[in-house]
């Protein structure tokens, strides 16, 4: 149990509180728990004692000055503790110290040795390590000499310290002081303040560590819960910016959206904001994330507007079967109206659900619902703590946010953008008498992503995204996009027909020219035939002439030969 700081600590077993104080209450020292009536002091003390006796083998003495032992047993039974059994097992002793001022007269000097002796007896009877004094201040109404009482209370605390008792002392909150009787003067080790505030008719319990000697502790107020699961404190604001970082990608359930991100999806542990005006498809997109997460993990859907049954029915219309996941325990649906608890309480309840269910993905739908119930800063701080907690646990978070206008102003009401790793902007734009949904990936930290506005189409087979029509008249969606596309198709057809026509003409001309070529060739051939006929005739003539001359010469020679002879 010993911490680095050197102070030994006794765990209280109160979930969250032991983390907050790095181990619990200071061992062997008194701790003062103060607060106004009904803020849970007695339950805190009882939980500390019972956990000690049951889980840490540290028997305890519960000294009650107000409530009767039977009442205490039945009170803690409502938290699921079986105190009577611990009493039977001699792990816990309840010492009831009742003082009735009516039957008491004070004459002269006295001390409270009787109280010490009874306490000692009770401690020794079970070997107690823990003591609860609830509420020692009632002694002030029984005894009229405060000087004696103060001296005795101081002596009692010292005595308990000497005996090494880890003690919880409860005290009523006073006006402007921590306790009505100034008991904080005597307890220097650890002082806790419990608070129970009602704002806007919504109550919140808060715990603050006023002082804890030897331990670094947060000075913030931490919300705490008292319900059937006992007492739990949520040390959410003690978290820093040292989140784990994941390279792993998760699918959004919309393939087209994943494709818009380089790497194929969002980083695991991201906080993703889906913002948009009413009816832009925020919840549907969130549901596809849930559905994708449920394929091989668990998802927690925290809805502040719809019931589980309603969401299941609605999502069926876009082809998402959430019912199966609900039935096989992969999906848990928690519905609560924002006004049901205060912000702190919501946070506390949500964190407890997350802690118990251990989902891979959490959806808060919608966070804007809180803005009506609380102050902006408070909402922001609550969400910050939620984001931090989820991030620290590697849980992907989806927040939907209802925007009231989309006129170029993309700031969210709660000033959330800086908290978010990714921001999907859903638009619902009117053009030519119809509204069309559009999706834009406004930011995605650490991931290159498309800068295009996509048309967001919900069909009964799921959600898909269409790249927008980027024509001369800007990006178009919906029927104007279809009209533009039809226009383009018509133009295309026209151009095709024109080309075919020109091609036909060409072909015809080609054929005509070829025919002419054939005719001319024929003419040429005819001329050539004529020419060769003429040449042949000339050759015949020349041959005949030669032959004739030869014959002529022959006949002439014969004559000449006779003459010579």
């Amino acid at each position: 149990m010993a911490e680095a700081a050197g102070i030994a600590k006794s765990p209280t077993g109160i979930s969250g509180f032991d983390d907050l104080t790095l181990g619990g209450l200071p061992t062997g020292r008194p701790t003062l728990v103060c607060g106004s009536a009904g803020c849970g002091k007695t339950l805190f003390a009882a939980t500390f004692l019972i956990h000690g006796a049951r889980d840490f083998d540290e028997p305890g003495v519960f000294v009650t000055f107000e409530e009767r032992p039977v009442d205490i047993v039945s009170n803690v039974a409502s938290l699921g503790f079986q105190l009577d059994k611990l009493i039977d097992d001699e792990k816990v002793v309840i010492e009831h110290i009742a003082v009735d001022p009516a039957e008491l007269a004070e004459i002269g000097d006295y001390d409270l040795e009787g109280l010490f002796m009874r306490l000692e007896l009770a401690i020794d009877s079970i070997g107690a390590k823990r003591v609860v004094l609830d509420t020692i201040e009632s002694l002030f109404s029984a005894f009229s000499n405060p000087a004696i009482l103060r001296a005795e209370i101081r002596r009692l605390f010292d005595w308990l310290k000497d005996r090494g008792m880890t003690t919880v002392i409860t005290a009523e909150r006073g006006d402007g002081t921590l306790t009505r009787q100034g008991l904080e003067e005597y307890v220097s080790d650890c002082v806790l303040l419990l608070d129970h505030r009602v704002e806007n008719q919504i109550s919140t319990r808060r715990l603050r560590i006023v002082k804890y000697r030897g331990t670094a502790h947060g000075t913030n107020e931490y919300p705490f819960l008292i319900d059937r699961d006992g007492f739990s404190v949520l040390p959410v604001s003690s978290l820093g910016l040292n989140h784990k970082v994941f390279e792993e990608r998760i699918s959004s359930g919309v393939a087209d959206l994943d494709a818009m991100l380089s790497g194929g999806g969002f980083h695991r542990g991201s906080s993703i904001l889906i913002s948009g005006v009413a009816g832009s498809g925020k919840s549907s997109l969130a549901a596809t994330f849930v559905n994708a997460a449920c394929q091989n993990g668990r998802a927690l859907y925290l809805s502040f507007e719809e019931s589980a049954a309603q969401s299941v029915r609605n999502m069926r219309s876009i082809g998402l079967d959430l019912e199966t996941s609900l039935n096989n325990g992969r999906l848990k649906f928690v519905s609560a109206r924002p006004t049901f608890y205060s912000l702190e309480m919501h946070l506390a309840v949500m964190l407890r659900d997350v802690h118990n269910f251990k989902p891979d993905l959490v959806v808060l739908d919608p966070i804007s619902a809180f803005l009506d119930t609380g102050d902006r800063l408070e909402v922001q701080s609550m969400l910050l703590r939620m984001v931090d907690y989820l991030k620290n646990n590697g849980i992907t978070a989806i927040f939907t946010h209802l925007m009231h206008s989309q006129d170029g102003n993309v700031a969210t009401d709660a000033g959330l953008s800086s908290l978010m790793d990714a921001w999907i902007l859903m638009l619902n734009r009117e053009a030519n008498g119809e509204f069309n949904r559009e999706l834009y990936l406004l930011k995605a930290r650490g991931t290159a992503h498309s800068n295009q506005v996509r048309e967001f189409v919900m069909s009964d087979s799921g959600i898909y995204l269409l790249p927008p029509y980027l024509g001369e008249n800007g990006a178009l969606t919906g029927s104007s996009r279809r009209a533009e596309e039809a226009k383009m198709r018509r133009g295309e057809a026209r151009r095709r027909a024109e080309v075919a026509r020109v091609r036909g003409q060409m072909e015809q001309r080609r054929r005509k020219v070829q025919a002419q070529i054939v005719a001319l060739q024929a003419e040429l051939d005819a001329d050539e035939i004529e020419l060769s006929a003429a040449i042949a005739a000339e050759d015949d003539y020349l041959a005949q002439a030669t032959r004739d001359r030869t014959e002529m010469e022959g006949s002439r020679k014969a004559v000449a030969d006779d003459h010579d002879a």
């Binding site: 002269g108 006295y110 040795e113 007896l121």
Partner: protein, 98 residues
């Protein structure tokens, strides 16, 4: 002064814790007052809780010393060393006269 001599003996129990000066003075004061003002009316028993601490719980004793008078009803407890004789007298007589 002793108007009620006829009343039967009643018991006064004085709880102390060890022989502290305060306890001793309470015993002495009580014995003196009873002896002077209520002779024979009260029987005094001194219980040392150090010897039997369980009695503290049994009789619901917190302050030391405590003087308990169980009868006549109602039960009456006087705490302190009984150093103020007047007050002790008032306390005991008022009850006794009822």
């Amino acid at each position: 002064m002793p108007e009620h001599k006829s009343t039967s003996t009643r018991k006064l129990t004085l709880y102390v814790a060890g022989e502290t000066p305060r306890s001793l003075s309470a015993v002495a004061n009580l014995e003196r007052i009873v002896g002077e003002h209520f002779p024979g009316q009260y029987e005094i028993e001194v219980v040392d809780l150090k010897k039997n601490p369980k009695l503290a719980r049994e009789h619901d004793i917190i302050a030391i010393p405590t003087l308990v008078r169980e009868l006549p009803v109602p039960l009456r407890k006087i705490i302190g060393d009984l150093s103020n004789e007047e007050k002790v007298l008032v306390s005991l007589r008022l009850e006794a006269e009822k």
